[in-house]
Symmetry: C2
Amino acid sequence: MTKLTLTSLLLLLPLIFIVLTSAPPTIASEAATKGYSKSIPRFLGKFAYPNRGKPFQYETRYFEQRLDHFSIADLPKFRQRYLISTRHWTGPDRMGPIFLYCGNEGDIEWFAANTGFVWDMAPRFGAMVLFPEHRYYGESMPYGSRDKAYANAASLSYLTAEQALADFAVLVTNLKRNLSAEGCPVVLFGGSYGGMLAAWMRLKYPHIAIGALASSAPILQFEDIVPPETFYDIVSNNFKRESISCFDTIKKSWDVLISEGQKNDGLKQLTKAFRLCRDLKRTEDLYDWLDSAYSFLAMVNYPYPSDFLMPLPGHPIKEVCRKMDSCPEGTSVLERIFEGVSVYYNYTGKVECFQLDDDPHGMDGWNWQACTEMVMPMASSRESSMFPTYDYNYSSFQEECWKDFSVKPRPTWITTEFGGHEFKTTLKVFGSNIIFSNGLLDPWSGGSVLQNISETVVALVTEEGAHHIDLRSSTAEDPDWLVEQRAFEVKLIKGWIEDYHQKRNSVFSI
Amino acid sequence: MTKLTLTSLLLLLPLIFIVLTSAPPTIASEAATKGYSKSIPRFLGKFAYPNRGKPFQYETRYFEQRLDHFSIADLPKFRQRYLISTRHWTGPDRMGPIFLYCGNEGDIEWFAANTGFVWDMAPRFGAMVLFPEHRYYGESMPYGSRDKAYANAASLSYLTAEQALADFAVLVTNLKRNLSAEGCPVVLFGGSYGGMLAAWMRLKYPHIAIGALASSAPILQFEDIVPPETFYDIVSNNFKRESISCFDTIKKSWDVLISEGQKNDGLKQLTKAFRLCRDLKRTEDLYDWLDSAYSFLAMVNYPYPSDFLMPLPGHPIKEVCRKMDSCPEGTSVLERIFEGVSVYYNYTGKVECFQLDDDPHGMDGWNWQACTEMVMPMASSRESSMFPTYDYNYSSFQEECWKDFSVKPRPTWITTEFGGHEFKTTLKVFGSNIIFSNGLLDPWSGGSVLQNISETVVALVTEEGAHHIDLRSSTAEDPDWLVEQRAFEVKLIKGWIEDYHQKRNSVFSI
């Protein structure tokens, strides 16, 4: 009876929607051009926030923030929600550290529930745990309500990364002052877009935070810093490394899909073949559904069974390909595809039909961000990608954004404000105490930092890791490399804190 | 026939108006309490911008900027003026550096004319010279005109330091891209508030600029980082070190002034005694006039004759004190005071009468900045200051700002955004390639960085230096220490550039 929707899936993995948002406006594949056009999915649609319980103990508090930190405009203040636990904190006298998770594009309770690593570490470090929510998400709504905050481009215009960082900076500075805890070191954490925020905050506010663990943070996925094909190439490689025939089946399937869709009764046949709850209206809706499944699968291509939102086996892509490849001879391409994606959308076998539609009227915060600051060029290469070939086309992207939000993207702003070009030189010379952790199966890893930059700006790369798995609670099933990765992160963070105390003492004793 | 006004003096030395803006709301001196209340002077009044000619060759260009870089709000763009000279630039192929002066609170042509050091160095370095104007000053007016930009708190609300830095960042990034000069290193310069901007820009945009010479930049003059008495104590010490009796005369004079002013015909007598062009209306106007003279004198207490705006002898405070002390016995306190300040206001002897009034209707940009972000606590100590004693009173300051601009100051914002507390630890660990140059006679030096922080964040302190003299063109009269100071600055800047090329090459050759 369970109906799975695209939206509920989109919640799962921050940043996946970027792929879709920045998705192919032009398609080179001949058949594909006929049936495909970009659609902008939403992150927090109306079904998007399941109540996942509250596995960790914290208090929920609110802090009044300026809407625009960088102007003096007399705008209405808003209440930022933050979760706080001082349960294990050793307090100001013993300089107990503060672990601050940089809330990203979603309800902060969800991030708190899924960032067990921070909670696991807190007792060992005697740390306060702080999860401030990102403005315009969850309960942290300007103008008093989500509807008013998301009313139009004017009301949305303060939804930017710099404002979010300033929120964190003002909040933690104020909190420390009130607790006479000015000397307590702050360590930043973040995954995905939250990881980007953590890294940027360490660079922009080094006086506030002594270091950052930026997990799966594609801070280089802008302009031409990495090739736009990177993301889909990595997704494709996830499949290719399991099975060439699986890769080929998927690569072939797009044209088949188009030609099926164009037949008389084609959409009806596709509706039936893919067990959709409602009649398929456009073949491209099915495209999106499949595209999402493959990209998600790559992100959660974890080496052990996971239950991030829906249950999946360990090495889920291996399982998808096994299913596709093991169909009896004569099975059609689309039948194979259906068998494969069912691993993702219906591993329990309980889903009776699939729901492709999403809340059609909502405006999503990340889509806004992707249309303004977070302009991440995406393309799909003819050779190495299993997706329909397409080039990055900024003009079409810009048009879509204008249509959706009446807004003009700022494609070069992020690198102007935070850097990115020649990042090796810059980070080497200026940055310190940042861990960029990435799993190479994660399609976002290609836009992150994969090489050590200096002694203190380090890349932790795991071959078998996927999207920010290190931030999750440790479990009995963790493979050795994950246990080691987390242990190394703990060691580095411990080093930052010791170093902080040492440098502080040496300065004060002068 | 020359009539000197307070406004024209205020132009002289950036930052002096802060003293006055943040000036004593409460006065402990018994007599003084009766006659004194804070007044807010203006920086760029109507007589404030004399045409100083154009001693250096440059082109004037304009660049379209966003009004709010940190939101997506659809605000009218504005034209930022910038001066550019590529005359000596060796160009992109030879990686010619770009010298960027961070325009501060005034017309950029005036800063260009008075920052000869940058122009002098350019040929030696094969550097491009860039003087972008600070928004809301000179010709760089949002909303099309000064009147519209300065209309009210709403129109002024984008006059902030962070926005100005983002203007510089966007401009130079764009310029470099258009010239295919992405690899050319940018070196920042700035004096006074411009020096603060240069230091902050190096900290916030290390990917854009490789180093900063921050001359006379009181980045620590916020909150309780330095004692609020610092500024006036240094002014007072300038006088005390020349002559105790001079110091005592001035210290005594405030009460005398008050009691004279309270007499029948007192204001008339003061008008006559101080040769004012118009009848004195309130004793406090004379206070301001004298206070300004002393503070300015300390800032331009240069060791050689200068003609910054008005001609002054070398060691002008020595001369002031000589005049005061050499009056015949029996000369009254106020007569001595008049003799003394005449050195400042009338060294040529050509002034027939003194004009205290300023353009009464103008709103000044710096006053706005001082009432919003640049909240610099100022006090005058009972013992070591020659000024009337007063404590820093934030409430009164806040009230004044509300009265003047309908705005509430943000006294903790600057340190949240740019740091300041525990700056030694922070700058040591994170900063690099910043020169904080200060002359100890400059009252602003007390709010700046006077100790080396690390190998690359260095303090150049000159005992006999005053307000950012190092930024001026070299002259035949320069004392040895000034010649050496500039040579050392050149050496350090050269080092930054070499280091940049070396690190860049080593990264690219990996």
